[in-house]
């Protein structure tokens, strides 16, 4: 089974023949220099590192997480399947004890992909970590999961997919949503009523450097993880907090990333964003690999590294400390805070409305999401979604998700609702989905 000593599994799939478009940040060249650096350093020859090959994630593995509209084939290209399949291959190696920990340097990324997928948003279609978590749960019986997202952009897909799951703790460190895509990830997005305080957002002021990020790690992330006691810690390892990233305004260095991963010691790290492909990625990836392999990291340095110029200002540190204190208080007194956030939970369900924008494909989606409030299980989640834009004009779908650990009452109730909807001839939807976790199957009706 899983072990603490042993090798770092490295899965490198740069997809040298896939791009969103020729000059798009998510293009063929993105990991070229990282590959050069890894190969020139001779990392793959080291005893401490074992290299793995990806496989293709199947429709079933993807559909455990996503409701792809109209189907998986329409949303998941071969590149997406291989990226998700890379995470799966590495998760298998970790769960069976072949490796102590694993780092999947894969693309395309996934942390902006939500449960319902109408198209590409934030360069993402398929959520690699979520597909991996579903696989770990289904195949290895893992229940408690922690995902720490260190990408500079809020991992809104991660937050959305696990918002009502009390067994998945999602912690996001990112540049303040008031100044950066996707404009979310504030401290008050704390999880649904049944999973309150299982979603912690730490928005950081633009200009935060190593000191600020490591402060959050040491004073919030590590103590919270120690309390939560997850069976697996996953790092959504975006690299765009780097001081040279063209899409963000942070000041983290390769040294900072190395230290962060040494402290966090994730079991599995999955590459997310990071678009300073020459000035950051080769060095940041090297720092993460060495840190996760337990090797010396102090020689990793960017050509223009200037620690003095990358300090986190006292004003920023004060703001970060304030955020950390607030989140600490919430983590320690969740019941009291839950009351304040959800004052009226008298009914059997809780409903919220969401507006989701797909920047890459220019789609606007309006969702009504309803979760069953249940003391025995996380409860079913029902989504009615209308999307317009993109290449298809307009689409309306309705979905019912039964979590893997749903109680029988909720599961039966959800199936009844689904079949009732199927037999409603006037239902205003193009597609009806039943994502049945306990039965491990997905049903689709037109």
């Amino acid at each position: 089974m899983r072990r603490k000593d042993g090798k770092l599994g490295l899965l490198f799939f740069p997809a040298f023949d896939w791009a969103i478009s020729p000059t798009h940040p998510e293009r063929e060249e993105r990991l070229l220099y990282t590959r050069d650096q890894i190969v020139e350093e001779g990392l793959l020859d080291l005893d401490a590192i074992a290299e793995y090959a990806p496989r293709q994630a199947t429709d079933k593995e993807i559909a455990r997480v996503h409701i792809c509209v109209p189907d998986v084939a329409a949303q998941a290209t071969e590149a997406h399947r291989v990226a998700a399949g890379g995470a799966l291959a590495l998760a298998d190696a970790w769960a069976t004890g072949e490796i102590a920990n694993g780092f999947a340097i894969i693309r395309p990324p996934g942390h902006h992909a939500m449960r319902v997928v109408h198209g590409n948003r934030g360069f993402c279609n398929i959520h690699n970590e979520a597909v991996m978590v579903a696989h770990l749960r289904k195949t290895y019986g893992i229940r408690r999961v922690a995902i720490v997202d260190t990408d500079v952009h809020h991992g809104d897909g991660t937050q959305e997919i696990f918002y009502h799951d009390p067994d998945v703790l999602v912690i996001g460190l990112h540049q303040d949503g008031r100044t950066l895509y996707p404009g979310t990830g504030f401290v008050d997005e704390l999880g649904g009523p049944g999973a309150f305080a299982r979603n912690l957002n730490v928005p950081l002021p633009p200009g935060t450097g190593d000191e600020g990020v490591l402060y959050v790690l040491e004073h919030l992330v590590l103590p919270v993880l120690a309390d939560f006691k997850p069976e697996v810690v996953i790092n959504s390892a975006g690299q765009d907090n780097h001081y040279s990233d063209p899409l963000a305004m942070m000041k983290v260095s390769a040294q900072g990333y190395a230290r962060l991963n040494a402290l966090l010691a994730p079991n599995l790290a999955i590459l997310e964003g990071g678009y300073a492909i020459q000035s950051a990625l080769p060095y940041v990836n090297l720092g993460i690999i060495l840190a996760m392999a337990g090797l010396e990291t102090s020689y990793v340095r960017e050509p223009d590294y200037d620690p003095e110029g990358l300090r986190t200002s006292a004003r920023h540190m004060a703001a970060i400390k304030e955020t950390v204190e607030l989140l600490q208080a919430i983590w320690e007194q969740p019941a009291m805070m839950r009351e304040r956030f959800y004052p009226d939970l008298s009914g059997e369900t809780f409903t919220r409305e969401k507006r989701i924008f797909y920047d890459t494909d220019n789609i606007v989606e309006l969702q009504e999401e309803t979760v069953r409030l249940c003391d025995a299980c996380p409860g079913w989640v029902r989504i009615a979604s209308r999307a317009r834009g993109g290449v298809f004009g307009q689409r309306a779908i309705w979905s019912m998700t039964i979590p893997l650990l749903a109680c029988e009452r909720c599961a039966d109730e959800a199936r009844e609702q689904y079949w009732a909807m199927v037999h409603t001839p006037t239902a205003p939807y193009d597609y009806l989905y039943l994502q049945d976790g306990p039965a491990d199957e997905v049903t689709l009706k037109h």
């Binding site: 899965l11 490198f12 799939f13 740069p14 997809a15 040298f16 023949d17 896939w18 020729p22 000059t23 293009r27 063929e28 060249e29 070229l32 220099y33 590959r35 050069d36 650096q37 190969v39 020139e40 350093e41 001779g42 990392l43 793959l44 020859d45 080291l46 290299e51 793995y52 090959a53 990806p54 293709q56 071969e78 590149a79 291989v82 063209p246 020459q278 080769p282 060095y283 090297l286 060495l290 090797l295 010396e296 102090s298 020689y299 990793v300 340095r301 960017e302 050509p303």
Partner: protein, 556 residues
């Protein structure tokens, strides 16, 4: 009677030789190898096979030899020093390198841009310290030197200006592939072995011309290709692992065309496996590994299993077990303990040795028929799992492109080719278990020498072009040329690469084989700064792959 090809394989136990002409084996020879007198073993086998052949009729003599592997195993390396320019990245102390290392500052990045200049005072001090410690062989190796060899060249020039009586080699001239520790190890090894290697081949050439053999002499490389001796002198490391390569080539010469085959070489103490996928022998994805050190040398992916004819049978917990331990000869050949060979002899799978002695030895463990079958079954299942593991390892090999992943399907062997002493007895049963056809070529015992005789030349050219920096780097020679101005397309880049390949062929004495060159990789990347494309990077890899000389016709 012209057009005779001679192949000689100097193996660990035997030195074999064959003479072939027009797809026909004219003569074979087998003499014991004398580890301390390789030259004598080699000439002994040669003289035997040359009986009745006029030296003037021989058009080529090919060798595969363990010389370099032996030299390296004997630990000839303490007198090589390394001067490293590691720049930022990994802690250089983490690398397992041969020889003592000195480290100096300076850095070049993945694009070949100079990040930090070298400090000449620091370099001089390091060079003097190396020299004063007594080193007279120095390998100068920098990270990313194959993208920009500036620092290596500066330091080599400095070293030779300070002292003229030492031999200094720059890493980029030994290997232009990316991989700094491999380049460092290969440079040190090259310096360590070049003198004895040259001496050996000088003697050999003299001995051959004394016998009237004036034809070209070639050596076999680890990738199953040949290299003219003159070129090989400069590239001594290319000949490591030519033994396994010879056996794969031998099987290639003797197997049906195009099939997916497993070459099973059953020896006394090990069984060696190699894969031929659709007629192409599989290369080790990481290159040759010697003594735990990976080297920038192409070699076939081979796997050595601890299963051999000399494995001894014992009783453990009342069960008969085959143990991978050699306690001497098989009983049927005069030894005292029952072995796998005895089991095969008893079952009539081999006619070697005394059947009665085999029976008596097996009887010590139980009813001989039962014991023999149990032993053979154990050997077979070990080899079978070895073959499965090898296919699995190939499936799991990392790929970096979608099209490569698409190519890998489920694949199982169609044919098992048995070579080596124990082949005819064990391989047919193994093939039955795997549902594959079996092929035991008539010249299986000297397949290695045959492989050397009929192998054709191989060479590769790997070109990295950076149009923004206006550089063209050839990995095999370590040359970084300036690139002419003007737009370049992928096709244009391939033309440049083919031209460099032709030039390299001429240098190696391998003209006129351009038609057999395979374009393994031709990739183009846009270099984007900000939101605009400022240049392109092209990676082109051309290969002339291993194969058989056209004089050899396949058995079917």
């Amino acid at each position: 009677m012209a057009d005779i090809l001679i192949g000689i394989d100097v193996g660990g136990t035997f030195t074999d030789a064959v003479a072939v002409r027009d797809g026909e084996v004219l003569a074979t020879a087998k003499v014991p190898t004398q580890p301390n007198a390789l030259e004598r073993s080699l000439l002994g086998a040669l003289d035997q096979v040359m009986r009745g052949i006029a030296p003037g009729d021989v058009t080529r003599v090919s060798f595969s030899t363990t010389l370099i592997t032996n030299l390296l195993a004997q630990g000839l390396l303490p007198d090589v020093a390394l001067l490293l320019i590691p720049g930022p990245g990994c802690d250089p102390a983490m690398y397992h390198l041969p020889g003592r290392a000195w480290i100096v500052g300076g850095a070049v990045d993945f694009r070949g841009r100079e990040i930090d200049a070298i400090d000449l005072e620091e370099v001089d001090a390091a060079l003097e310290a190396t020299y004063d410690t007594g080193f007279r062989r120095l390998a100068v190796v920098g990270k990313f030197s194959s993208r920009n060899p500036l620092h290596e060249r500066q330091i080599v020039a400095r070293a030779l200006r300070l002292h003229s009586d030492w031999h200094v080699v720059a890493g980029h001239t030994v290997s232009g592939q990316l991989n700094f520790p491999r380049r460092a190890a290969a440079t040190a090894f090259t310096l360590a072995v070049e003198e004895p290697y040259r001496a050996f081949f000088t003697h050999l050439c003299e001995a051959l011309s004394a016998r009237g053999l004036t034809c070209p002499i070639v050596i076999l490389k680890g990738d199953g290709g040949t290299l003219p001796l003159a070129a090989a002198e400069r590239l001594p490391l290319q000949s490591i692992f030519s033994g396994p390569a010879a056996s794969v080539l031998g099987a290639l010469a003797l197997r049906p065309k195009g099939a997916t085959s497993v070459v099973v070489d059953v020896g006394g103490t090990t069984t060696d496996l190699a894969l031929i996928l659709d007629g192409e022998p599989l290369l080790a994805s990481r290159g040759a590994v010697l003594d735990g050190m990976a080297l920038p040398v192409r070699a076939f992916a081979t796997r050595s299993l601890p299963v051999g004819g000399d494995d001894v049978a014992v009783l453990g917990d009342g069960k008969v077990l085959l143990r991978p331990v050699r306690l001497g000869m098989a009983a049927c050949l005069g030894g005292s303990e029952p072995t796998l060979t005895d089991a095969l002899r008893y079952l009539g799978e081999t006619q070697v040795g005394d059947a009665e002695a085999a029976r008596l030895a097996l009887e010590k463990l139980g009813p001989p028929a039962e014991v023999a079958n149990v032993l053979v079954e154990q050997a077979l299942s070990r080899i079978e799992s070895g073959i499965e593991a090898m296919f699995e390892a190939w499936q799991k090999e990392p790929v970096y492109r979608l099209w490569e992943l698409r190519q890998k399907g489920e694949r199982r062997p169609d044919v098992l080719v048995g070579v080596g002493a124990g082949a005819s007895s064990l391989v047919p049963r193994l093939a039955q278990r795997l549902g594959a056809r079996v092929l035991i070529p008539s010249y299986a015992p000297v397949a290695n020498a045959l492989g050397a005789a009929v192998a054709r030349p191989t060479y590769t050219t790997t070109v990295h072009i950076d149009t923004e920096r206006r550089t063209l780097a050839v990995a095999e020679t370590g040359v970084v040329e300036p690139l002419a101005a003007g737009r370049l397309t992928l096709d244009g880049a391939c033309v440049l690469a083919r031209d460099r390949m032709a030039r390299r062929g001429a240098e190696l004495g391998l003209e006129s084989m351009a038609e057999d060159v395979v374009e393994v990789l031709a990739e183009q990347f846009n270099v984007v700064e900000g939101w605009g494309t400022v240049g392109q990077i092209f990676d082109i890899h051309l290969e002339r792959r291993c194969g058989l000389v056209k004089e050899w016709k396949l058995e079917t």
